[in-house]
Symmetry: C2
Subunit: 352 residues, 2 copies
């Protein structure tokens, strides 16, 4: 297989070892002479996959006692609604920080369950930075934010210091760096960046949440349903959970989140250094809010575009076209992207 | 690979060709030198997969003009809620036929959006038959039923003649026989029986539904969201849709639903004939309502159980243990199960 430098924004690159093991399990799972795709999700072999995936999440993220982990379908997009349903309380009011397209969508769904106060937003500046200096209302039931903004290339460098329960959509940077789970009441994350293939969504929830006064929630939207049944209330997305488990095993084998964080910081330093050094390029996001996962940049001289595009394509680089709402380029550098792939891009930029 | 006779109730057996092609795409999709798992769902190659899957559903089921097809996450369990949200109208009332565990769960979710009248039920007889002779209230917004009951082994042989919009959970018999789509306003079906791997849910909806007075529905629960965005409102369950597409291609190649129906009827005839002939066995479901997909039966002489269990295991048969709420045995004979596997089971039953 030719070496493609895969900068896809998600679904994104996964480790080659994981991909190979996934393909093997499709043919013959656990030596059962059956495909992973044609076994009961309640078979002992698959139950142990879900158990291992759950345990690995807890281990790798150092999830404290009093928290539960489960996998649900629907992506973060259903998470926008589920987080609101599960977190809204007696005040019938929530607070949101708006840092991009995904926050915007989360805010829209929150309106279905109560009043929403957008306490800070960088929308006016096309989300090119993370807002600071906002006041968190103590009469809201929870504060919601998006930790990393894939489209605009910004990322929260600090967890907001919140006097009210904190909820975070961590779809695009979970498992990329150490986080203090104890600061959160609810974290959710679509699998398809640093966890595994699209189709599963990770929820990490403080058990206390279920003890509060909550609204009546339809069964499948109630996170407690899935926690109680250990991600098996209904048929789970078997393949996505299995490959996520393989990928988390892989992450553990290379030294866990801390080791991965160092690699991610190295990749980010390499690419941002070239953007800052090279007068032909300019970063899009405010320097202090730059994402280690998604690097957005533009050419300072538009006339170079055709040549640059030709050069990176010739170098077997894939997926760096920017999102239409930002333009330019976006290099998504998820966990599995090797430093060497970043070096290839930097070399192309130097050669332009 | 040893030949396992896979009677799993779902996720269930898929054709070997499909499994092999799925494994290949995990390694290298469409010759891109990238795994199916690490490409953008908005890439031209994957958009054409969704298009082909959608077209194949329409072709194989002869979906008439004025209907749309889409794939959504969440399984039929989320479909219970979504069907109610999308179908409830000005009368704020729905009608349900209760034929088993899945109908029961659908009824529970319908209560979140309006009044529910259960117009017929076989619950008192542990769902061993399909109720007949009920009256459908014309003041309900829709009638919901479950076409095949996996746990109890019953199946509707006729589509109810309904004066109000008809909704059906066809999770366990869609693509197993010809159906007249024009009689329905909404059909939904989890992938993991005759369509593909768990993680995708098929919706077939009359476009007229979206023109009615409907309640305000959260974005992800509104089927119209997914229809308008051609199953791409958010990141879809890429792998499940891809393998479903492969499986539908396979179904088309063997002659489509009609050819498959003949095979399914042959398998059912073979196994039910043995159950009726052999005094050691007795069928669970009422004869006229017997499912072609899930055959439930018990031993007439409990003392033979250990021997029978040993014999079918020795014959490399897997997955025929009955569901705990019925006991005995359940042989699920989904599309991909060959007649030869049924013959193996029948031979074991004869030899007992």
């Amino acid at each position: 297989m030719a070496k493609v430098h895969n900068y896809s924004a998600g679904p994104c690159i996964l480790p080659q070892e994981v991909i190979k093991e996934a393909a093997e399990a499709v043919l013959n799972f656990d030596g059962l002479d059956l495909s992973l795709l044609e076994i009961s999700h309640r078979s002992a072999n698959f139950v142990s996959v879900v158990d291992e995936a759950t345990t690995l999440v807890k281990e790798l993220l150092e999830v404290p006692e009093g928290y539960s982990v489960c996998f649900i379908q629907g992506g973060a997009s259903l998470g926008f609604l589920m987080s609101a349903y599960n977190m809204i309380g007696d005040n019938k009011k929530s607070a949101y920080i708006n840092t991009g397209t995904w926050s915007d969508k989360a805010i829209k769904e929150a309106h279905f369950v109560g009043d929403v106060e957008v306490i800070a937003s960088s929308k006016e500046e096309n989300f090119n930075h993370i807002p600071k200096g906002y006041t968190i209302p103590t009469d809201a039931d929870y504060l919601h934010y998006t930790s990393n903004n894939t489209i605009f290339g910004t990322q929260f460098k600090e967890i907001p210091n919140s006097p009210i329960p904190l909820v975070c959509d961590m779809s695009s940077d979970i498992f990329s760096k150490k986080i203090d789970i104890s600061k959160f009441d609810l974290i959710y994350a679509g699998a398809q960046k640093n966890m595994g293939p699209a189709g599963a969504t990770l929820y990490i929830v403080k058990d206390e949440v279920f003890k509060r006064n909550r609204i009546k929630i339809p069964t499948m939207l109630n996170i407690e349903t899935h926690v109680k049944k250990e991600s098996m209330f209904n048929t789970p997305p078997v393949f996505s959970i299995y490959v996520s488990m393989l990928n988390l095993r892989h992450l553990k084998s290379i030294g866990g989140v801390e080791a991965q964080q160092k690699i991610n910081e190295e990749k980010a330093a390499l690419l941002y250094a070239e953007i800052d050094r090279n007068p032909l390029f300019k970063g899009v996001a405010a320097t202090e809010d730059r994402s280690t996962m998604n690097v957005t940049f533009v050419l300072t001289d538009e006339s170079k575009q055709a040549k640059f595009d030709e050069m990176w394509k010739a170098a077997n680089i894939s997926g760096i076209k920017g999102h239409r709402s930002v333009g330019g380029y976006r290099a998504s550098m998820y966990n599995a992207l090797p430093v060497s792939s970043v070096q290839v891009l930097v070399d192309v930029m130097k050669a332009l």
